[in-house]
């Protein structure tokens, strides 16, 4: 007779795992030296670092001329990065041809931006509504008045004199803040059941996406004035701003649409069955979920936009990269590493902003995860 029948008389309690499963030594053994091939790869990786790090250190720090150094120091043989050049031209990299006595106006705008955007980005910070109103309505108006001047006794500074990081930041902040809502509207329009709205949105998205940004900027700066009535001019900077924003919003629309398609039909139906109107369904149910799904895609577009701002040099604007390029030819700092130092600086600034956006998006993704993926 076989023993088919079994009845458990006592439940087995939970017991600790047999070996320590955490700690630095366990981590090293598990991740770096688990198998012979792992060990080999680890050693190769260490060798690569040993090969690349010392020369980099030598160029960037060891043999470099620190800020405050002279051009003669930068002209010695085998010199490292010429940071003295960056430090001495920093004002131009940040403000372009903006008059030096008026720098304070730009600084106030930078300070306002930081003071408004940091609490806005922190989920726990209070007064969100006031903060948002200040950022969306008060800040842009104050910025235009401050930067452009011409009223309240402020000297008028034409946009031709704007430049450097200031231009990069203005175009990207405006582009980012406008392209997301525009993109959402376009995405909703593309999903609309109303044929005319749908066709307009599809046509806009497909037209803008199929054309390089450079073409759009050219069109905005050269073609647009031809269609304008005589005497009416739109500022070149404004035209570039609109071009970048529209370009980015077309991409954003497709990212958002992708997110909306990931939402099951049941969500639309449940929201409808409760009697919520179209805008409330979208605003409370569909978009919050859809946008959360596509945070990586949205931030991807933001980062692309941030870097694409350097294309405005095409229409004669001097953004950060173009400002650096201009000064790289400056005779007074002519030295073997002048240009490369300039480009490293520009790259570092771009990297800093883009990397911050990337980290912030990852933080938001984790925060917004309500654990519904089971």
């Amino acid at each position: 007779m076989t023993d088919i029948s079994f009845v458990r008389s006592e439940m087995t309690g939970a017991s600790p795992a047999p070996n320590p499963t955490s700690g630095p030594i366990v981590w090293v053994r598990k991740n770096l030296f688990a198998t012979p091939s792992d060990t080999l790869l680890t050693l190769l990786g260490l060798a690569f670092l040993a090969w690349i790090v010392p020369p980099l250190y030598g160029f960037l720090i060891g043999r470099a001329v620190p800020p405050g150094g002279t051009v003669e120091q930068c002209r010695v043989e085998n010199v490292g990065a010429c940071w003295a050049y960056i430090a001495s031209e920093l004002d131009f990299f940040v403000y372009g041809f903006y008059p030096a006595v008026e720098y304070w106006r730009v600084n106030i705008v930078f300070a306002m931006l930081a003071l408004l955007i940091i609490p806005l980005a922190m989920p726990k910070a209070p007064y969100k509504r006031l903060n948002a109103i200040l950022f969306i309505i008060v800040f842009p108006i104050a910025s235009v008045i401050l930067l452009s001047g011409g009223i309240f006794g402020l000297r008028y500074v034409p946009t031709e004199q704007w430049g450097g990081l200031m231009v990069t930041l203005i175009i990207s902040v405006v582009g980012i803040c406008l392209s997301l809502p525009l993109g959402i509207i376009l995405a909703l329009g593309r999903q609309s059941s109303m044929p005319i709205i749908k066709s307009i949105c599809v046509a806009f998205i497909e037209l803008i996406r199929a054309v390089p940004l450079i073409t759009i900027l050219f069109m905005a700066s050269i073609m647009l004035p031809l269609f304008m009535p005589a005497g009416v001019t739109v500022d070149k900077f404004l035209r570039a701003l609109v071009g970048v924003t529209l370009f980015s919003s077309a991409y954003m629309a497709e990212v958002v649409r992708g997110g909306m398609q990931a939402i099951g039909r049941g969500q639309y139906e449940a929201a409808a069955a409760l009697g919520l109107s179209y805008w409330k369904r979208m605003g409370f149910i569909i978009l919050p979920q859809a946008l959360k799904h596509v945070i990586p895609g949205i931030v991807n577009s933001f980062i692309a936009l941030f870097k694409d701002t350097s294309l405005v040099y095409i229409v004669g604007m001097k953004d950060l990269l173009e400002a650096v390029k201009t000064k790289n030819d400056a005779i007074e700092w002519a030295s073997p590493t002048q240009a490369i130092t300039g480009y490293i600086f520009a790259a570092a600034v771009f990297w800093m902003f883009c990397f911050s956006m990337s980290r912030y998006s990852q933080f938001m993704e984790r925060r917004l995860n309500t654990g519904h993926k089971r």
Partner: protein, 265 residues
Amino acid sequence: MTTATEAAGQPVTRSKMQISKTDVAIDVIGMNKWYADFHVLRDIDLKVMRGERIVIAGPSGSGKSTLIRCINRLEEHQQGQIIVNGTELTNDLKRIDEVRREVGMVFQHFNLFPHLTILQNLTLAPIWVRGIPKAEAEATAMHYLNRVKIPEQAHKFPGQLSGGQQQRVAIARSLCMQPKIMLFDEPTSALDPEMVKEVLEVMISLAEEGMTMICVTHEMGFARQVANRVIFMDQGQIIEQNEPEAFFSNPQHERTKLFLSQILH
């Protein structure tokens, strides 16, 4: 199939389950619906009086779900009339919203909003559709969470709840709108067997309070206990309808007999 409701162990109180003789809740007249060329619903005539508890049964693809989804216009019908609480459903969005406000619906897959807490799921529509103040909406929500016996889950997210709990939340979410009619679209079909009972108990108690309801379900025990009318559908048409007792003990149509012999054994 009767086990789940019988296991609920409570005799159904029929005293309050009064059916109005004059007040028509839903009137479907000569309704036809097509999906492109496919004729899904054919000549549906159905009059539901206030207080009726109707169970719709039938094989899959017979149009049961489509029929109740037409009643709150999740699906559009092409011919005939559907009048709900005196409002005829047309393309007029205002009328559709009017009907949806008064008709609750519970889905097979719950369809809770995963990005909102349970409490937010329950208060969203009362606040934004009915314009009820937040505090009041939350009090109502807690009342209905108590009724479905999960007040302690109010601040969790739907993903943290079991299927049975989620479905009870979904019922509570509909009730928060204080609907006059409830539609159930296979509410227990996606649940683990152990959780069917807790959902049926809530539905039974709703019936006892006199809620007008239409349930598409395969729970024949529930139909026997609670329904005053069972409708059998096949191929998009109503084949047979009767009181549960007569329907189960003495089916007339061949298709009904076959169906019952398949599911009752």
